[in-house]
Amino acid sequence: MENLVEHSLAADGLAVGYDQREIIHDLSVRIPTGKITVIVGANACGKSTLLKTMARLLKPSRGSVLLDGKSIQSIPTREVATKLGLLPQSPTAPEGITVADLVGRGRYPRTRWIRQWSKADDEAVAAAMTSTDVLEIADRPIDELSGGQRQRVWIAMALAQETDILLLDEPTTFLDLTHQFEVLDLLVDLNKQDDRTIVLVLHDLNQACRFGDHLIAMKDGAIAAEGNPREVITEEVVQDVFGLGVKIVPDPVAGTPMVVPIGRHTTRADAQPASVSSAAAALAASAAANGVCRPTDR
């Protein structure tokens, strides 16, 4: 895979809105190159809007998104598509399309009317499908796949674009927990392999801490906190951004900050056996917070 230039992405004095309503006000940010950046925040805080604006889907009313220091709106959109790939929140596939066909469409910005499909395109598609592990299902129609497989296929399509920057809008939202981790692990692989810059919107703060090198916490269309997970995910910031009282404990698996919500109806299960370590309790609490299962007496 060619990886000659490292591209940079930043926003400068950005204001974005739909109709009369302004959603993002005067936002400036630099996306660290070669890192995984996660944008978090409450619903309607503007995190998807920020991602879409950085992907030139929305036009800012003020300020600009800078790709390699140049305003993204001034660069031909096809040229942008060779540097920056996007996976929208709910992409639609035409009925009956096979995996290989769909991934192949990621080559669109690299092909021209004159320069038709070539060996290099086949290679790029094969590479994208290998690294997302969807080569075996190349001939399957995408409607037959599980949600996790389908998401990997869409990621493969974005990879076939061969861009240094990859933006993903809530890539785990419609997946169960196993597939969420499968996709997030895959993104880490892709980041490690080629030093790809990855920006994604996530809902789950614990996953954001676990997988993000850099976190951007948004509130009311502005950045409330930014930095590495340890700096950003504090009890104060979560209280401020989400309006939710939480305890932060170290994630027993990764050591990254883990958010344990308090809530109004929480009663402390003091009846728990003393032998239970605090880590196990934290694990159960996290599982409960994720809605995976109820904490049971052990």
Partner: protein
């Protein structure tokens, strides 16, 4: 990074897709040609199919040449071209809207053309080319109004279909209004036009249709690549570097023009644009618009329907639109019933 085997898998998958497409196109083309020859051989004076083929390639005697080339060929050729144009137009609209209901004869485009043509026939007393011109203007104007009304930060497919159906209803009631005010003989003339008919087409029809198709068909092929990207949804298409709005507008313009010239040449032959593309997609197993196969299938549907309309009922010759309607209407009902069951509302 990809191994040689991995690349092989991709190359083979692509080759298999293309082989299937090519096979379908060749077989369809052959069937269209056979139907075409059979329709040229039938009539008051029957000519063996083999003589028809000879005549087509310039080797027949004077009498057959007169009957085939002068009398029957213009009608058959017009039918093929009208069918091909409708097939491509339907493929474009259905792919843009990602909805099989969105063909130009279901949304308002052809209704608009009809209303204008009936106005030309009934109120202005026009005939022939003038009526065709009015039909084209009607189709383009209707599409323009649809597009403008559907515009809100870009055009969403769903709005386009709903507004299209609404405008179609308005155009239909205008047509009915004009017909009820007209004298009976003129209303009858308008009604025949409204059913869609290939009766009495001559070489001038073939020429004008041929020239328009010669311009529009390459443009369509040129735009297919963009259409394939547009099918992935607006956001993905933006992400892949497609200029979404201008591509969609360009495709709509081409689709409207194709439907308009077809309607101008033979009246609003119903359901061809609606049934041809889905059948083409099923045959080619192509997720995309399958443009060439759709064109061939459109041509085939019109040619077969005209064959039936002309010869299946003894001395009664029906307008071709009656037959396409009989074939197409049940498919529409099937589609509506199925999409309602799935709950996607079409």
């Amino acid at each position: 990074m990809a191994t040689a085997e991995a690349v092989q898998v991709i190359t083979r998958a692509r080759a298999a897709r293309q082989a299937r497409l090519l096979l379908v196109i060749v077989v369809l083309a052959a069937i269209v040609f056979v139907t075409f020859c059979v329709s040229l051989s039938l009539g008051d004076f029957k000519i063996p199919v083999i003589d028809v083929v000879k005549t087509l390639f310039g080797g027949g005697d004077k009498a057959t040449e007169f009957i085939v080339n002068r009398l029957r060929l213009p009608r058959a050729l017009t039918g093929l071209m009208v069918g091909a144009a409708l097939g491509m137009s339907g493929a474009i609209f259905q792919s843009i809207a990602r909805n099989p209901l969105a063909s130009p004869d279901i949304i308002g485009v052809t209704y608009g053309a009809s209303a204008f043509a009936v106005f030309a026939i009934v109120t202005l007393g026009l005939t022939g080319v003038a009526v065709s011109a009015f039909a084209i203007v009607g189709a383009v104007l209707t599409a323009f109004i649809m597009y403008v009304l559907a515009w809100r930060h870009g055009v969403s497919s769903y709005r386009l279909i709903l507004i299209g159906i609404g405008i179609g209803a308005i155009a239909t009631s205008l047509t009915s209004f004009l017909l009820t005010k007209a004298r009976v003989e003129i209303a009858q003339q308008a009604l025949i036009w409204l059913t869609g008919s290939l009766n009495g087409r001559d070489w001038s029809n073939v020429r004008s249709m041929g020239i328009t198709l010669a311009v529009l068909a390459p443009l369509t092929v040129f735009m297919v690549q963009r259409l394939r990207i547009l099918q992935l949804g607006d956001e993905t298409a933006y992400g892949l570097g497609l200029r979404v709005e201008s591509s969609r507008l360009g495709l709509i313009v081409i689709g409207v023009l194709l439907a308009a010239v077809a309607t101008a040449a033979a009246g609003p032959i119903g359901f061809v644009a609606f049934v041809a593309p889905p059948i083409a997609r099923r045959l080619t197993r192509s997720p995309g618009p399958a443009m060439i196969a759709s064109a061939l299938l459109g041509a085939l549907v019109v040619a077969l329907s005209d064959l039936i309309a002309q010869h299946a009922f003894g001395d009664t010759q029906l307008p071709v639109g009656v037959v396409t309607g009989v074939v197409g209407a049940p498919y529409l009902m099937f589609l509506l019933a199925r999409s309602n069951r799935v709950g996607s509302g079409g």
